[in-house]
Symmetry: C2
DNA sequence: CAGATTATACTCGTTTTGAGTATAAATGGA
DNA sequence: TCCATTTATACTCAAAACGAGTATAATCTG
């Protein structure tokens, strides 16, 4: 093996939000993300990624941004590099055999604070058992999970996952060094470090949506303000204060009325909006915080 | 050449702030960043980076975070991947032959808005000439450079550099397709795409410093509030309102008094501060905007 | 000791947040 | 038909944060 010469994989986390649930495009029964090796024929990293995703899922790749580059440390085996990407899109009508959309909270049930989280209590208990009397470990658990949801920071998806890994509460951790068969946190598993990559993608999207207008990649051309709010709530895993959310959207000059009304549903019909052209051409939306309900 | 097997380089942007000037560690007379191929002996990407930086500059690598992964598209040549990193540190006393700290505004004179920028007028002029009558190009120029510093967004370092590249105003652009010998923007050049990587690093740091307490990596253990302000100003390339900056720091619970006073300089001696332990253990500092002087 | 220099402490009006209430326009069943 | 239900939209109001100043304190220099 020549120094500096290495196998390179491209991995995609493709996200859509359907009916208030964020979903991720998977292959192999939801246990893996679309991926494949970078090949000589690929003109660029992104076009290589595009080729693999379209071959494996027949889903077109829209907005894409780079996430992170990992090195796999397989002892004995050839080293490999994984370059991961986050893509935003909408769930298509056509399904392709082998490809399926899965709710991302199936993989991270503790990350959805919009509803009650029955899983949280046992996780806290297991983590406190793991931390024992060590003050630094106890502080880490408290800082990442918060006391009864107090001070929950939705951006810390990856540190929380890594904490569960260190505590041996996710099956992936058992793969490398199978210790005592203990209690495991709920949530679907993935091959290799794909679940870790998904955690990275969720964190990135949760953080980015606050200061960059990327939501519109996830919505149809026309939508109601409630659609917009629920899409952002789904991603953040939190609920927002409705009047303040509207004010926030108005102030940021994000959308404009189309003049049409939504129909069919119960209650007073909502106005339909579209994103303003300046927003689509990448604009501010800067710095403001989301009006999260306490 | 086997599919998916590729040469991988590690590149470091090491930043320090000395005497109110941000500096970057370079080799080869300031024309290149420390870098080298990933090797079999390297235990991880970061440890490989560490080895190269220490070999080429004898400077220890402290806080490091990944920046971006590029693919080089050399027609005919073997494809290569570059994984770039941002490191924060302090300028050491010892110098190593071949390694040198250069002010980062030597490479991007137009990015330092703390003082007058005589370079800005000719750059605007050249860009307006390039844009001609095309409205989309004119809008892009106006949005990125602002009208006489109005609405300058310090985070857009990379888009501005790319604009200059497209307009043929940086020498790197001439390397690929040497066109007419026109006027060039001031600023030092670098090999390959190293100046582009530096732009990425500056942008990342400017953005990150607003919502994460990373400054302390750049300051000594004890410092005055003015030291802190000037370090942040150097990075942002802007000046802040002093009373409001102090209020901002107090509110964010970032620092605590050490009880000692700075000595030796003119004027009333300043209290010395240190970062609070909770900050070093990665805490909030979230969302707030910097008190920029208008 | 006077003046320059730097640090630090307040003030004050404006904007932005957080939280809540009131009214409007549809649907659906009694 | 009418009334309860549901959803949308429009205001209100106090607290906190922000932007832009001014005033005072403690040093050094000559």
């Amino acid at each position: 093996m020549v120094d500096g010469v290495i196998k390179t994989d491209l991995i995609a986390v493709l996200v859509a939000v359907t009916a208030g649930q964020p979903r991720v495009l998977t292959i192999e029964e939801g246990s893996a993300l679309p991926s494949g090796p970078l090949q000589t024929g690929h003109r660029s990293l992104q076009s290589g990624l595009r080729a693999w995703v379209e071959q494996q899922t027949h889903h077109p790749l829209g907005y894409v941004e780079q996430l992170y580059t990992f090195a796999d440390q397989q002892p004995g085996a050839r080293r490999s590099i994984s370059i991961s990407y986050l893509g935003l899109s909408r769930e298509g009508a056509a399904e392709y055999p082998g490809a399926a959309w899965h709710g991302w909270y199936e993989y991270f049930p503790w990350e959805d604070t919009r509803t009650d989280r029955p899983c949280l209590a046992p996780i806290m208990e297991a983590l406190e058992g793991w931390a024992g009397g060590a003050p630094s470990k106890r502080a880490r658990v408290a800082g990442l999970l918060g006391k009864d949801g107090q001070g929950w920071n939705e951006d810390l998806v990856l540190p929380r996952y890594e904490l569960l890994w260190e505590a041996g509460l996710v099956p992936e951790a058992q793969r490398k060094e199978p210790t005592t068969e203990g209690w495991l946190a709920p949530g679907l598993e993935m091959t290799h470090d794909h679940r870790r990559i998904l955690a990275t993608a969720i964190a990135r999207l949760r953080s980015k949506i606050k200061y960059r207008p990327v939501v519109f990649e996830l919505l149809p051309r026309e939508f109601t303000l409630l659609d917009l709010q629920q899409t952002m709530e789904a991603i953040a895993g939190r609920t927002f204060h409705k009047p303040n959310f509207r004010r926030f959207i108005e102030q940021s000059d994000l959308v404009e009325e189309t003049g049409r009304l939504a129909s069919g549903l119960a209650g007073r019909p909502a106005k339909l909006f579209r994103f303003r052209p300046a927003v689509l051409a990448e604009r501010s939306f800067t710095g403001t915080k989301l009006p999260i309900v306490k």
